[in-house]
Amino acid sequence: MTASFDPPLDHAPVSRLTGRTAFIALMLALLALLPVYTTLSGDAFVMTLFTRVLILAIGAVSLNLIMGYGGMVSFGHAAYLGIGGYAVGILAKEGIGSGFVQWPVAIAVSALYALVVGALSLRTRGVYFIMITLAFAQMIYYVAIGLERYGGDDGLTIYQRSGFSNLIDLNNKTVFYYLCFVLLLASIYLVSRLINSRFGLVIRGTRSNERRMRAIGFPTFRYKLICFVIAGALCGLAGALLANHTSFISPALMHWTRSGDLIIMVVLGGLGSLFGPLIGTVAFLLLEEALSRVTEYPDLILGPVLLLVAIYLHGGIEGLLQWRRHD
């Protein structure tokens, strides 16, 4: 008889489990078939919108890793979208158009920035941590504005998508969509392995009770920092994808309110669940889209909605699906 752990969710009744799995399966199926719909209907906009959804979902997955599983509320995560994007943009402008160079650089620089910011910020906790990550994100935003050569405040147009020799042509929108889809699934899979590994258990334990973790012998700072770097690197990849998608990169992408958007996506979907970030991103972007069609002042509705979510909705949408056990 193996004494393997039951993750807390396994005690949920089977019916709920099936309902939840069905929802996710359906969502994935729809996402997979979306290009078919686009081809048939001729509606290119939907694919553009959902490519963006997929890319930002990768960012949300990375934030969920540190926030949902690690308990580190970072209000500066959009910085990595920007760093990844600018890596692609700057290299493109300097004549290096190969994705084989651009994307690893995007990931590496993001990881490096996460290492520095994390090393400085992770000594603090709670509100301090939120404010400090916010400050560092704003710093990099100002740095980007100061980069006159690369567009400064106006941003930088990227004339060529990242080249991958003959392996894959990112100019083909459908191909690009599926690439993003595959990368998203890969990210989710990566996170799923991570959170149940030894490393992941340390991260989750630290979120649950850091004092206890230290008392049993874990140097928690080290683990949190590595987790922070992984999340930054993954988000840097999302940034590279985003730059390719919009063919444009500007400091506005790193403004701290964009970090707020990422937090919303993660919370809406349900903190600390594997597919929550995707659900949250879909929900948020669709909501944004819907509101902007209905009114000229979408934030008049979005703002209070967020407030209500903060006050009443614990566990986000996934919580509504009763995936997590409520105590």
Binding site: M67, V73, F75, L120, S121, R123, T124, G126, V127, Y128, I130, M131, I132, L134, A135, F136, Q138, M139, Y142, V143, A144, I145, G146, L147, E148, R149, W256, T257, G260, I263, I264, V267, Y297, P298, D299, L300, L302, G303, P304, V305, L306, L307, V309, A310, I311
Partner: protein, 305 residues
Amino acid sequence: MLYFIEQCLNGVQLGMLLFLLAAGLTLVFGIMDLVNLAHGSLYMLGAYFAATFAIVTGSFVAALVLAVVASLLAGMVLEVIAIRRLYRRSHLDHVLGTFGLLLFFNELVRLIWGPAGMTLPLPPQMLSAVEIIPGIYYPMYRLVIILATLAVAALLYVVVMRTRIGMLIRAGAANREMVAALGVNINLLYTLVFGLGAALAGFAGVMQAPILTVQIGMGENILILAFVVIIIGGIGSIRGAFVASLIVGLIDTLGRAFLPDMLHLALSTNAAATLGPALSSMSIYMLMAAVLIFRPEGLFPAASR
């Protein structure tokens, strides 16, 4: 030299404005344990109120007074309707909820006043420059800002340290359950504290309006600076906020004024031109990073919490 003194004074002026914002933030955090991202919105509303009242009344002073009162009321109403429901929640929920408020207020201002922003004209008596030291002139209005904000800071000190209300505020910061248990109307206290923070923010918004800006989103950049101030000064500490505000104000102003030139001395023209503006805006974050390394609890951490 003249330029240096002028920049120093500008730094003090920025520091004082920051102090007003940071004081409100740190009070609310110290007493209600609430992170308020919408604090900058109250700063913005103060400026917009004043611009509107100035048009109506034609007087800067009247606009100032009315705007501060309006900010106080707005803060108190906001606390009752929305903020108080967030108290028991996690800091993440605070961040999320007040972020929603921030978005809401930006949009509301756009709806009511339009996207273009407004102006608040300088009071005519203050258009001149004052000779503060023989040979050195400084705009009078900027001097007024410094003095007025110092006066408010002193008033704040007196209220917090020497009055009953102030004592309750300090007690509430140290131990809110105890204060509630003593029969003090905690709800009212919180509303007043939040209102006070709003009034301070609104006052700062009005004062800076003639020389800086009245536009949507103006609260956001300065809010982050206020956060940096609190981190450097220590959360919950008004004295820390005061010292840190001056430091941050001076470093940011002097950095922007002198760093590009200093860089030109050290680096090639191209590099200096590229990096100059970027690096000079980074100076206070570098300071913050240094504080985090050597004294993570801040320069003057509050005794309790």
